[in-house]
């Protein structure tokens, strides 16, 4: 009996050690990425980086203000195009979706979330860019929105399912019409969780390059309109990184650092939101 116990403790310690090791191994790439990007990028960050347009090849200085603004614009458009239909589709699936059609929607959403982002870029290219004969911010926004859509839909559905049935019944029992109960009680109860999911979806698409290459493309100047090609941080990083110029390499690292920073802020904000919700319960 005693022997068994010590043996069990040994196995326990071994398994625990293995888990710890695996966790460490998983964290190494993350740590390395953060380290490299920070150490290489930090030098390129100055006031000009955030406020000036890129300079032509050979000229020193300049910044990426247009790409920064462009990314915000594209992500904003993606939210505009992606969040409302995503949330509503999630509401449909969770609250009204017992039919076969709902199964189909759910299945397509799952398939879509596995589609490589470059495919979505090509899709939007054929759908919008070829027709309008121009790269544009809204084409980029649509591409990112399509990318967000399945995540937003499924997150919304999952979170609505977590809302206890008793709250729906409470609302219906008060003589509240179903649509009103769904919007004002069920959706509102799940709202912080859905917001978190949406922020994670945004963080995910903010760094996407492939779908923007043939949709928003790039632009060396300030964004002037939604129908114009628009610069973005990921595409700018790509362009600069594959260029032969050291100065551009440096800028690409700096941009990568800014992008990581943005994504990190979104992630942390999402988490804080969750914590806040838990505490207010």
């Amino acid at each position: 009996m005693k022997e068994r116990y010590s043996q069990r403790k040994l196995v326990d310690a071994a398994v625990r050690g293995l888990c710890l090791l695996a966790t460490g191994a998983a964290l190494i790439p993350l740590g390395l990425v953060l380290y490299y990007v920070t150490s290489r990028g930090i030098g390129g960050l100055d006031w000009a980086f955030f406020t000036e347009l890129p300079k032509p090849v050979g000229e020193a200085g300049g910044g990426m203000a247009n790409a920064l603004l462009g990314t915000l614009e594209l992500v904003g458009l993606a939210c505009l195009f992606g969040i409302p239909p995503g949330v509503l589709a999630g509401v449909y699936l969770a609250e009204f979706g017992q039919h076969r059609f709902a199964k189909l929607v759910r299945f397509s959403a799952d398939v879509m979330s596995g589609v490589p982002s470059i495919t979505i870029g090509i899709f939007v290219y054929t759908l919008i860019v070829l027709r309008t004969k121009s790269f544009s911010a809204y084409a980029g926004g649509v591409a990112l929105a399509v990318l967000m859509l399945p995540t937003v839909t499924r997150t919304t559905e999952e979170l609505l399912r977590l809302v206890p049935e008793s709250l729906r019944e409470a609302a219906l029992g008060l003589g509240v019409p179903k649509w009103r109960a769904t919007l004002s009680v069920v959706l509102r109860t799940a709202a912080p969780g859905i917001a978190t999911g949406i922020m994670l979806a945004i963080a995910r698409v903010a760094g996407e390059t492939a779908p923007l290459l043939f949709t928003a493309f790039n632009n060396a100047f300030w964004p002037t309109g939604l129908a114009q090609p628009t610069a973005s941080l990921p595409v700018q990083i790509y362009t600069y990184a594959v260029s032969p110029y050291d100065d551009w390499h440096q800028k690409a690292w700096a941009a990568a650092l800014v992008l990581i920073g943005m994504v990190l802020i979104l992630n942390v904000a999402a988490r804080v939101l969750v914590r806040h919700r838990v505490r207010s319960r």
Partner: protein, 279 residues
């Protein structure tokens, strides 16, 4: 005595409902509600097998019976909440002031405004404050009451919660204790001034003190509202109810004045149940 025994018994009641109104002699003339040959299904299973039962105006009617006999289903049929569950169906009639609430032109939402419901588990809206919870029924129905403060105070006083929460009205509804939450839910229903209040085991999650409070409350509400309460607690039924109906396996076994049910039931099954021989 003879008279009061000649009452709704399951099978006869269904068949003879038209001829013998199942109403005890002490009751006012016209029942507030009346189920007629009411059948309820979950998918293919029939859980209510033809219930005919009156609910007398401004009285308390208790529904008792072993677990799974269809008590909850029955009262959910009284405000059209049964059909909310997918696959659930209802057949038969439920009259509210002589109008069939299952008639095709009746809007279930309007029925639920007139026939309020309090659930077994307190379910205040977690995103709303105590004040908002009380007003939820009105607000969500698009009504803008004029004097909300007074309305909130009146509803909370009615459920004897005002003194406990008057200083924390903007706290979350879920920050209250279970018993307080249940009284808040009752206040939320009362704020809509329903004509009938259905309560499904409202005290089963409450401690004895909170239970006593709710029972007191039922006593007071009985003056103005028609109440139907489901309970597993025989003493509670005896304490609060004017009439008691005993359900068994989806059928109404016996319905009578509460004192009759508990002292001289005419059905063997009822007697066995209330004396604790089964159930």
């Amino acid at each position: 005595m003879i008279q009061s025994l000649a009452l709704a018994r399951t099978s006869e009641a269904t068949r003879e409902s038209a001829r013998t109104p199942a109403r005890p002699s002490a009751a006012p003339d016209r029942p507030k509600m009346r189920a007629e040959a009411l059948r309820a299904h979950f998918g293919k299973t029939e859980v209510l097998k033809g219930i005919t039962l009156p609910v007398e105006s401004t009285t308390v009617t208790a529904i008792i019976g072993p677990s799974g006999c269809g008590k909850s289903t029955f009262i959910r049929c009284l405000n059209r909440m049964h059909e909310v569950v997918s696959g659930a169906r209802v057949a038969g009639k439920v009259l509210l002031d002589l109008q069939d609430i299952y008639a095709p032109d009746v809007d279930p939402v309007r029925v639920r405004r007139r026939v309020g419901m309090v659930f077994q588990k307190p379910n205040p809206f977690p995103t709303m404050t105590i004040r908002e919870n009380v007003l939820a029924g009105l607000k969500l129905n698009g009504l803008r009451p004029k004097d909300t403060e007074e309305l909130v105070e009146r509803a909370l006083r009615q459920v004897a919660l005002w003194d406990e929460v008057k200083d924390v009205l903007s706290r979350s509804g879920t920050s209250l204790s279970g018993g307080q939450q249940q009284r808040l839910c009752i206040a939320r229903s009362l704020a809509l001034e329903p004509e009938v209040l259905l309560m499904d085991e409202p005290c089963s999650a409450l401690d004895p003190i909170a239970t006593a409070r709710v029972e007191e409350l039922i006593h007071e509400l009985r003056e103005r509202y028609t109440i139907v309460i489901v309970t597993h607690n025989m003493q509670q039924a005896a304490r609060v109810a004017d009439f008691t109906a005993f359900f068994y396996l989806g059928e109404l076994v016996e319905y009578d004045r509460t004192d009759v049910i508990f002292t001289r039931p005419s059905e063997k099954k009822t007697e066995d149940y209330i004396t604790g021989r089964f159930g």
